[in-house]
């Protein structure tokens, strides 16, 4: 299978205010194949979100290289970065904050389409189809983010991420702000979309139980390092590291 994402020796060091440094991410390497669902799990502060944000080029890495569909994007700027964003999209943790309060959901979803040369009518049509695909009606396009529930907003955010037909979607704790029943609905939506479109997911999450059914492969992170890697069943049934055992015990 094609490698959609390759991360090599990624590092992020934050300077500490009182001097010294924090190794938020320390030498992280992994690959993600096209259509694969990979989860990164770990407690808060383990560096998983920092990894996601570096891959999405929202913060610059201190060291290491990132390849998206074979092309290096570690230093990408301007046009090159815009091109990378047609292949890679992100769904954020808090759905309501991820839409501009002054714009309708439809504006948010169609923004990438218009930026990449679609006409307004085309974008409107695609937006309506995407909303339907994500289980919302077309009239949600005219609503503002504060007028819809968290679950509906996250569906709209997924619609936005899919608009440009990316090959990779990064889900940064995309279900943690939602309640349990809505979580299950959103996960089944993501599953369905993955089967229809063959998108690869990078699923950032702290809930090991949720990952078990959903993902093909799991990476466990602890204090900025990868401590374990394997299929969910391998990791959960036969954890090698003490930290992973604790993480599993804390759920069960």
């Amino acid at each position: 299978m094609d490698k959609i994402l390759q991360v090599r020796h990624l590092k992020k060091i934050f300077p500490r205010q009182e001097g010294g440094e924090i190794f938020a991410v320390d030498d992280v390497s992994f690959t993600l194949s096209a259509g694969e669902k990979l989860a990164i799990i770990g407690e808060s502060g383990s560096g998983k979100t920092t990894v996601a944000r570096m891959i999405a080029r929202l913060i610059p890495p201190t060291a290491g290289r990132i390849f998206l569909a074979g092309e290096e994007i570690t230093q990408a700027k301007g046009k090159q970065l815009q091109k990378a964003y047609t292949q890679m999209q992100m769904v954020f943790q808090n759905p309501v904050d991820s839409f501009d309060p002054r714009c309708t959901l439809g504006d948010g979803i169609s923004e990438s389409l218009i930026n990449h040369g679609r006409s307004r009518e085309q974008a409107k049509k695609i937006t309506e189809n995407l909303l339907a695909l994500c289980g919302l009606t077309a009239d949600f396009a005219d609503r503002y983010p504060h007028e819809v529930s968290g679950g509906q907003c996250q569906r709209a955010a997924i619609a936005r991420a899919l608009a440009i037909e990316p090959q990779l979607v990064i889900l940064d704790e995309a279900t943690s702000a939602l309640d349990v029943t809505v979580q299950a609905e959103v996960l089944s939506l993501l599953n369905r979309l993955q089967q229809d479109r063959g998108i690869a997911y990078l699923f950032i999450c702290h809930d090991i139980a949720m990952v078990q059914d959903f993902c093909d492969r799991v990476i466990v992170m602890h204090e900025g390092r990868i401590v374990e890697e394997g299929t969910p069943d391998e990791v959960i049934n036969n954890p090698q590291e003490e930290y992973t055992k604790n993480l599993i015990d804390s759920v069960l």
């Binding site: 929202l58 954020f92 839409f99 002054r102």
Partner: protein
Amino acid sequence: MSQSAAPTIRLQNVQKNTSQRKLYFFGALALLLVVVSFFSEQLCPYDPYMQDMSLTKAAPSAEHLLGTDRYGRDMLSRVIAGSKTSIFSTLLLVSFITLFGSLIGIICAWMGRKTDTVLMRLSDMFLAFPGLVFALAVAAVLGGGVHNAILALAAISWPKYARLARSQTLALQAAPFMQAAKMAGSSTFKLIYKHVIPNISGPILVTAVLDIGTMMMELAGLSFLGLGAKPPIPEWGSMMSDTRNLLPTQPWVTLAPGFAIFFSVMIFNLLGDTVRDYLDPKRR
């Protein structure tokens, strides 16, 4: 539970309605002032420059509603004509500093690093001077005249807007929707134009409207001190200054422009308060 919830909802509606009604009321008054200042030449009952030496310092009468000054000029006409200088110049000044200051603030927040440091230290320098005293110095160096008074006040008042726009933009930059917009492939220009400006315009607008009153006072103050409009151009501040020795004997001559300033400043301040209340998300 449902019974106790109903009155709360009604109370919120009442509050929203009053703030909206107040907004229309003060908005209409402010608009009236602007219209008067715009059509001041047509509205004057007499020529504000026409002197009538046979009728100097006349008390208010049916012919001259606000009396006449020491040259026999009709005070009502002079007050109306003065609104052009006072209100128009103030609005010009406030729009200029709002646009210029906000632009600088957005640039600072966006560019960061050196640009930010240089521009912000520059604005600190302007903020370090006591406002009106610095304006006095600038106006004195540039010489009198309304234009120079506007320039002097603009020089001291833009940093407030730059700081406000900068802090608002910085706060926005961390918002997830800005990152989402960036990942949607929006250019810097589009990010600023479509996402930053609409989101920071609320607080900036409130500050600007509240500033109209202050700026009107300061402009009148400069004119009062002889550094703004030059006589015989009617301007409320300089009119008060010219006639202040008449206050004990013919008070209407001084009080007419005085009350004009008082009411205009009050209307714009109340409008500012109402706009702030109206835009306050907690009130919605």
